[in-house]
Symmetry: none
Subunit: 209 residues, 2 copies
DNA sequence: ACACTAACCTGCCAA
DNA sequence: ATTGGCAGGTTAGTG
């Protein structure tokens, strides 16, 4: 348990590995970037049941391009790949990892209170298409320190481009400002995810330019 | 409902038979009592698979004294006995009847929508130990009437002592108020069933006397 | 094939 | 409104 290097900066190792796998010399951040997307402190349900609940705002922001029930590959810091099925529960409007998640919990011996960090490693191939890879970091809670504290003063995520600290923002802001997420127009339009309507865009008062 | 005697009050016949089998003169409810425990409308899975899912709250309340994998005898209204294996699935925390259940389904020609009613017949032997017997009633759904409606205005269960209508209660209330089920103390204690821990009692705020 | 077990998917509810 | 937690219907895996 001691020898393992499950600390926050492991994802940088992964980035280097991905750089090499991509047959590109690792020359710095111009070739690839590792962006911390979000993290979550695991709940008892996350480790006790077979499902991991993805905070809704991050699912909308980072996973909305993924098809319903698609199985997605993630890589840990040792380049091992894990495949999770992304499942959207219509009735509870909840995003979860189902198949594959429990195996990950057992393999990593995850407990409630541990934290997992989702990163996106973007590899810029130049002539080729850019390839993006999800990388998971695990932070054990063995020391009993608050993970939120640990995350606030670390130096983990290089190249956090857009919003380095979305976690602290109110959800409406986090959803509106960019990216894959809901683009709010004047009139409400259906919000589609995985090809299914999951809601409506809301015309926010006082938001028109 | 006319010719066939598969109606709700059949269990009273069973009670009389049990009284006689016990070599005690049937003198009224002072000698034995028939208590309706719970009922369930059969699902397609209950009749199509080989397993019957026991609603968790009733399993905890009425079957918690039964050992894991123990085979339990039930009697129908014609005094025929049926033996079901009681199985607790740890991973899904679910109680089921397995072995013996399918035979019962076939013999009674049960279909989804039919209802089975579990009763407890307590026989007071005086000098001897009291013997309790599970009695099952079957209510066919041939008439297409809603079983819940039928149950709400019948005169079936004599001697429903504790809570005649637990089905309508929120689960926490149903679990907490009495009987075999989880006895909630001030401090959380492990809930054991079949000798295995299946959870914890929760100290409910504002519940201390 | 069958019996048993585990897992997956969906829904509900309350904090 | 979100989501943690869990109940339960159904299906899949395993011996």
């Amino acid at each position: 348990m001691e020898g393992q290097s499950n600390n926050v900066s492991d994802s940088r190792l992964m980035k280097g590995v991905l750089d090499e796998q991509n047959s590109q010399p690792t020359m710095g951040n111009s070739e690839s970037s590792l962006q911390q997307l979000f993290h979550k402190v695991l709940t008892p349900s996350d480790v006790g049941n077979k499902t991991f609940v993805i905070p809704r705002r991050y699912a909308l922001k980072y996973f909305s391009h993924i098809q319903h029930n698609e199985e997605v590959d993630f890589y840990d810091s040792s380049t091992q790949s894990w495949r999770f099925k992304l499942f959207y529960c219509q009735s509870s409007k909840k995003f979860t990892f189902t198949r594959g998640w429990h195996k990950f919990v057992q393999a990593k011996n995850l407990k409630a209170g541990d934290t997992i960090i989702f990163n996106l490693c973007e590899i810029k191939n130049g002539t080729h298409e850019n390839s993006n890879t999800f990388v998971i970091d695990v932070v054990k809670n063995d020391e009993g320190l608050s993970m939120d504290l640990a995350l606030n003063h670390n130096d983990v995520a290089v190249d956090v481009d857009a919003a380095p600290n979305d976690e602290g923002l109110p959800m409406d802001l986090a959803l509106n400002h960019n990216d894959v997420a809901v683009d709010v127009d004047a009139a409400p339009t259906p919000v589609l995810l995985f090809g299914k309507q999951i809601g409506w865009t809301k015309s926010k008062r006082g938001n028109e330019v």
